[in-house]
């Protein structure tokens, strides 16, 4: 049940909604890709998902308290994000949209830095070179082209098909079901296909683009678009972290070796509102939410860990303590993020000096100084 009419047919799944391993002839190759994951690996996936959810909860609370201008939750999409990001090599480069908090968790982008944008303190928030993660992009789909161009650059740099796992580089771009309707995403697929870029298009079909269901964007399962561009595509159960990991690993392998781009449609669900400013009760049903709640990606992995004797209470308490500490840190440090100085507005508009910016900067500084002088005179006068 998804309300989108495009259905769940053909999804790669390795864990059923109850967390039991699924074995079919179709998923045999993918099963092989997760067979080597150890208990520690599985617990690592769980931890990243749990911390992502806590990040969401705290950020949402901070928004409610007026500390953030807006927030877009990843809740419900942790498996798609953490599973895919865990498959990446360190040198791979990520272009996120704006709710890829699970990807940021895996890539180690500082949690406070992730909220600078939403607090209105910075238009970016982190150094892309530090984690090989580009800044969040708010104009829907535009970053798909940046990712494709970047992948064309990687190709030019000769970092594809070298056979050296530490060198071969791929680019992953994350976008939503609504974004697939954008020209830029379609143009990116064209450029990627004709250039055979080392790239993964990771589409999170979370069923909704604000209030519009996927049927408003497409009449066919979104993964069906790929072959029309000449790009192999796969649909995956986006709430199954193992399946998301396995299909991304396969796509990255293709990209790294020079096999070109892949489109992955992760069929998932956004459990929260689109952002803190919309009201999902206006456009979707309780039944639908309940259906998806039973498919929660974190519960699913927890069930697997329990079933396989990998759940360890002391470890679980450790993750919980880590989540508590994360929440505490966000509550304290986000509140402490002050406004940048006014002059920051004029910095980095250009890489080299620009007369109009300098003119406006000087005017503003003079104006501010005059106001301060006025205030001083006023204080003097009223003494």
């Amino acid at each position: 049940m998804s309300g989108d009419g495009t259905g769940e047919a053909g999804l790669v799944q390795l864990l059923d909604p109850d967390g039991a391993r699924v074995a079919t002839t179709e998923n045999a190759a993918y099963r092989g890709r997760v067979a080597t994951l150890t208990g520690d690996d599985l617990r690592g996936l769980y931890r990243d998902m749990a911390l992502t959810r806590r990040f969401d909860d705290e950020a949402t609370a901070l928004q409610r308290q007026g500390e953030l201008a807006l927030f877009a939750q990843a809740t419900g999409q942790e498996a798609a994000q953490v599973g895919s990001a865990r498959a990446l090599a360190p040198q791979d480069y990520v272009f996120p949209s704006y709710r890829e908090h699970g990807v940021m968790q895996v890539r180690g982008v500082d949690p406070v830095d992730r909220l600078r944008l939403f607090r209105g303190q910075d238009h970016g928030g982190w150094d892309p070179a530090e984690h090989n993660v580009h800044l969040y992009t708010l104009v829907i789909g535009s970053h798909a082209l940046h990712a494709t161009g970047y992948a064309m650059g990687v190709q030019r740099d000769g970092l594809v098909g070298t056979g050296d796992a530490a060198l071969d580089t791929a680019v992953v771009v994350y976008f939503g079901d609504g974004a697939t309707a954008q020209g830029d995403v379609n143009e990116a697929l064209v450029f990627a296909a004709v250039n055979n870029t080392p790239q993964v298009f990771f589409l999170q079909n979370n069923q909704w683009a604000i209030s519009e269901p996927t049927t408003r964007q497409a009449r066919v399962p979104l993964a069906d678009r790929g072959p029309g561009f000449g790009i192999p595509s796969v649909r995956v159960d986006g709430n199954d972290v193992l399946a998301c990991y396995a299909v991304t690993l396969e796509a990255l392998e293709r990209a790294h070796s020079g096999g070109g781009p892949t489109l992955i449609e992760a069929f998932t669900y956004r459990m929260g509102a689109h952002t803190t400013s919309d009201d999902p009760t206006r456009y979707r049903s309780r039944e639908e939410e309940a259906y998806w709640r039973r498919r929660d990606p974190i519960d699913r992995l927890a069930a697997l860990l329990r079933a396989e004797g990998e759940w360890d209470e002391a470890w679980a308490a450790g993750v919980e303590a880590e989540a508590e500490a994360l929440g505490e840190r966000l509550r304290v440090e986000v509140r402490a993020l002050g406004a940048p100085p006014t002059s920051a507005m004029f910095e980095h508009v250009y890489a080299t000096a620009h007369a109009t910016v300098e003119h406006d900067r000087a005017w503003q500084a003079e104006y501010e100084q005059a106001m301060q002088d006025d205030d001083a005179t006023l204080t003097e006068a009223t003494r």
Binding site: G124, V139, A144, L145, T148, G153
Partner: protein, 326 residues
């Protein structure tokens, strides 16, 4: 010194840029085997290969968007937009992405992308082939917007544009592509050529401000004025953003009169910006209001009417007369 057409001067500038920097590449529709619809990239693919001079899919947003990605990876893409009226599919990428990447990242990211756009009218083309959208880009912080008016400047400015760490929108006056001029291919280009105006003809009685295609019109008007005993100074802006306000103001302080000429519609345009800056900074030197000569607030007209739309020598002379009669 070589005598070159304007178009050839740009070709040689691009050639030098490709030779100087192996991270530079040209991308666009038909830029390779055809050499571009105006042949500006003629011969470059044969010389540098398909890897450096790339024929792209027919997707303007795709061209600029992927150029941004390439720039983020350390390359210096020079995009050709085939005609002025076809830049709009890429407008979003240019204004929301290209212009802001450096700012958003607090200077950590650089996107040295050049976007070449043949612009302006006078060649009897069909619709969407004769537009002057420069004000739309100049209004956007983060972009440098320039337009050369001579083969020498075209050669020097395209090289400076490719070398610039900032994104540059490079408007080529297509009506001038076939005009010729002397070009010194070896001289070091004037410092700050992307930021500074040039006095194209000195004079003492009136300042005529122009850029790109209308510099030639302004010079012709100045010739006619000289015959009447009026010494007009022609200031060629070269850069629209940033505007070289000190150069314009210095000239107006000497002459007391200012006429601004461009092909784009006058309303809300570059001429309005020049007039406002001159008024703010040379008010007491002005003996007349700044007068604009430009296109009308109507879509670019059919080719059979463009001679009435474009600023003609007569309209410039009329504006100068009105200014001097104040």
């Amino acid at each position: 010194m070589a005598t070159l057409t304007f178009a050839k001067a740009i070709t040689l500038g691009l050639r030098a840029a490709l030779a100087d920097d192996d991270k530079a590449l040209i991308m666009g529709e038909d830029v390779g085997r055809l050499g571009g619809v105006f042949r500006v990239t003629d011969g470059l693919q044969a010389e540098f290969g398909e890897h450096r001079v790339v024929d792209t899919p027919l997707a303007e947003s795709g061209i600029v968007g992927t150029a941004i990605g390439l720039a983020l990876r350390g390359y210096r893409p020079v995009c050709e937009i085939q005609f002025d009226g076809f830049v709009f599919p890429a407008f979003d990428q240019i204004t929301t992405q290209l212009s802001k990447m450096h700012y958003r990242s607090r200077g950590r990211l650089r996107v040295p992308v050049v976007i070449r756009i043949p612009f302006g009218g006078g060649i009897g083309a069909v619709e969407h082939h004769s537009e002057s959208p420069e004000a739309l880009f100049a209004h956007t912080a983060g972009l440098r917007v320039v337009s050369p008016s001579t083969p020498q400047d075209a050669y020097d400015m395209i090289r400076a544009a490719v070398a610039s760490p900032d994104p540059v929108i490079f408007f080529e006056p297509k009506g001038r592509y076939w005009s010729k001029g002397e070009v010194d291919l070896d001289a070091a280009p004037a410092a700050g050529i992307l930021d500074t105006a040039r006095v194209a003809r000195p004079g003492t009685d009136v300042t005529i401000v122009a850029y790109g295609p209308t510099v030639a019109t302004a010079l012709k008007a100045a010739d006619a004025l000289a015959g009447e005993g009026t010494a007009a100074e022609v200031v060629d802006l070269r850069a629209i953003s940033p505007l070289d306000v000190p150069a314009v103001v210095a000239s107006v302080r000497r002459t007391g009169h200012c006429v601004v000429v461009h092909e784009a519609p006058s309303a809300h345009g570059v001429g309005a910006e020049v007039a406002a800056r001159v008024t703010e900074e040379a008010f007491h030197h002005l003996e007349a209001p700044v007068i604009r000569v430009g296109g009308f607030h109507a879509p670019y007209p059919v080719a059979k009417l463009e001679h009435d739309y474009l600023p003609s020598v007569e309209r410039v002379l009329d504006a100068v007369d009105r200014s001097l009669a104040y």
